[in-house]
């Protein structure tokens, strides 16, 4: 269990780092492309993951129910803990706060390396967006970090 956790983390870091390494040698415009490529990879992973995780669950009552599922079961399976705080304006915008985001804990516990954090969040944003998309919700997911390893994911559900 713990060695498989290590593999997952290390694999994620290495593939981001090697992909990101290209970023640092590119112009800023290309950097945005690389980040969106990472997000796209996350999207596909999220879609697949949600199929596996909800295989046996009953269907969801409403949007809030789906978000609660994401915050509890989904987050536990993927990031090994639950979301600490969910806020919403009941009009399609949700803010998910994770105070010890699994992919940031080893980076720092404060402000060091804050500028590097967004790269490591792109993939995870994609995972959340992919999961929601396969549950029927189109969304835009962004992440923001002010103090590591605490992280806020903002999900805006797109209405047709």
């Amino acid at each position: 269990m713990s060695s498989d956790k290590f593999l997952q983390d290390y694999l994620h870091f290495t593939f981001i780092q090697s992909h990101i390494y290209e970023l640092s040698r590119q112009r800023p415009t290309d950097r945005a492309v690389s980040v969106s490529v990472l997000e796209g990879m996350g999207f596909r992973v999220g879609q697949g993951l949600i199929e596996r995780l909800t295989r046996d669950s009953p269907s969801f009552k409403d949007e809030l129910d789906i978000m609660k599922f994401v915050c509890k079961d989904f987050w536990t399976k993927v990031f090994r803990r639950q979301i600490d705080n969910l806020r919403t304006n009941h009009q399609g915008t949700y803010v998910l706060q994770d105070n010890k985001f699994a992919l940031l804990t080893q980076l720092s516990s404060g402000k060091q390396y804050l500028d590097q954090a967004p790269k490591y969040l792109a993939f995870s944003c994609g995972v959340v967006r992919g999961a929601l998309s396969n549950l029927g919700l189109d969304s835009v997911v962004t992440a923001e970090v002010s103090v590591m390893p605490s992280c806020k994911f903002q999900v805006v559900i797109q209405k047709l």
Binding site: F6, D9, Y10, F13, T14, I16, Q17, Q106, L107, S108, S109, G110, Q112, Y113, Q116, Y120
Partner: protein, 145 residues
């Protein structure tokens, strides 16, 4: 009972990390020279010990002592060298050094994607956890014995 200072070297002899908690006397040379001196000594003493050993060696060089302090040494299979100077009441710091390697170095440096292996250890998280660990050791005290 106390810990004086700690060095971490990589396999090429670069000093990745140094910190001191209780050092009363400096070496009188620049830090760079001091690190080179320390590494050179370790290298020589290890090869001396293995050459002159009258028996088959198991772990090789572990520590040396003077009338005032003891130097403990731990080398990982990956070539990382941990050196700590303590006072004489600490007979075996090998477990401590091993803990520093597996629970601090591996956790906060190896698993940190921003830290490039082989460069000096900048992570504040590593530094602060290491400091907290050292201060929590049963044989640490802020004033020398």
């Amino acid at each position: 009972m106390t810990i004086h200072n700690l060095y971490i070297f990589d396999r090429n002899g670069n000093c990745l990390y140094y910190n001191e908690w209780n050092r009363k006397k400096q070496a009188g040379i620049s830090k760079d020279e001091e690190f080179k001196l320390m590494y050179g000594m370790l290298f020589s003493i290890r090869s001396f010990v293995s050459k002159m050993s009258p028996l088959d060696m198991k772990d090789g060089f572990l520590s040396f002592q003077t009338s005032k302090y003891r130097l403990h040494y731990y080398e990982t299979p990956s070539g990382l060298k941990f050196v700590v100077n303590t006072d004489l009441s600490v007979t075996n710091a090998r477990d401590t050094l091993q803990h520093i390697y597996s629970n601090l170095y591996v956790e906060y440096i190896v698993k940190n994607p921003v830290c490039v292996l082989g460069h000096s250890l900048d992570s504040e998280l590593f530094s602060s956890r290491l400091d907290a660990f050292i201060r929590a050791l049963p044989y640490y005290s802020p004033r020398a014995a």
